[in-house]
Amino acid sequence: MRAEALKGHLDGILLAVLEPEPRHGYAIMEALRVRSGGQVDLPTGTVYPALHRLERAGLVRADWSVAGGRRRRVYQLTAAGRRALDAERSTWRDFSAAVTALLQPGSPPPAAVSAS
């Protein structure tokens, strides 16, 4: 999956990856790869600016920590980040349900979709 296909959803995806536990940059990339079954393979370098943007918006917090003699910047969700993730999830659910219904061959759209 290329970066363009994920455009608009990268923020939500990063928040979701940070939901279970705080992670540093490399661990975030690994989690993206593993959780997407290898489907998401972004240029690593572009994920860091996105993390900084989320930090500035107060959705994640970043702290330097030292492990194994190397300093790493570890990101964790803030309360606002959790709320944003919830919102992102419900938006995505509605969106994907609508697109799934629209792409279905021949079946009439459910009332909920045609009303929205």
């Binding site: 690994e30 690593t44 860091y48």
Partner: protein
């Protein structure tokens, strides 16, 4: 793009070994890549350094994982750099963040130092016994100085407005309001230039009063206010120019 999948999250080398292999640390491939990113990343060094340090630790983590998966140190470093993507887009992504942080710092600095210089002005007014006339501060002053103070007030309003815009465009509000990258540096530069104008006009009024009507203003606070005004004028002007430079470099 990924030649060999590095071990999953749980097997992070950081947790496995306390020290990092010197072969990875010394990689010229990684430092060469970082130099290319740095060359495309204009802005204050104190903001650039942590970014490059973070990228470096991420690259070293990735290289270490490739090495743990059986690659030679050189191949591992090359694979890590390949995963990161071309230096151009990486630097471009950070340019907007850097510009935004710089703009925020300048806007806050301008907003905080304004009342400090204002305090010295008030001190001058009080020490010169202009205090009781505060609602019409100008009553003890010459007409020229009074006109100058009106201009100073206008510049202060402009400063506060632009600085507030710069702060709003770079903080939590961006969660709901998407802001174009060039906006915040522009607002911060405007705040800086307005502050410089306010200080320049203020200092001119002070100096004119001191020269044309010796003895009307208390000398010590007036001199302090002049020095503070000139200092802030120079710093705010420089910061504003830097914000414009950063803005011009935005992709």
């Amino acid at each position: 793009v990924t030649p060999a999948s590095p071990p999953p999250d749980r097997a992070r080398p950081a947790e496995a070994s306390p020290g990092e292999p010197s072969t990875v640390r010394a990689s010229t491939t990684i430092d060469g890549y970082l130099a290319e990113v740095a060359a495309r990343l204009p802005g204050p060094a104190r903001l650039r350094y942590p970014i490059l340090a973070e990228l470096r630790s991420g690259l070293l983590d990735a290289a270490e994982a490739y090495q743990a998966a059986g690659q030679t140190p050189d191949a591992a470093a090359r694979a890590a750099v390949l995963d990161f993507g071309a230096p151009g887009p990486v630097a471009a992504g950070f340019q907007a963040e850097l510009a935004s942080r710089q703009a925020r710092q300048v806007a806050i600095a301008v907003l905080v130092t304004g009342p400090l210089t204002g305090l010295l002005w008030l001190l001058t007014a009080v020490a010169s016994h202009l205090g009781p006339d505060l609602p019409g501060l100008g009553t003890g002053l010459s007409p020229g100085a009074r006109g100058g103070l009106v201009l100073v007030a206008a510049a202060i309003v402009g400063t506060a407005w632009a600085a507030a815009a710069g702060i709003a465009a770079t903080g939590r509000l961006t969660r709901w309001l998407p802001v174009r990258p060039g906006r915040a540096p522009l607002a911060a530069a405007l705040a800086g230039f307005c502050a410089a104008a306010a200080d320049g006009l203020g200092v001119t009024v002070l100096a004119a009063e001191l020269v044309l009507a010796p003895g009307r203003l208390a000398l010590l606070p007036a001199v302090l206010a002049t020095v503070a005004g000139l200092t802030r004028l120079a710093l705010a002007g420089r910061a504003a120019r830097r914000c414009l430079t950063t803005r011009a470099a935005l992709a």
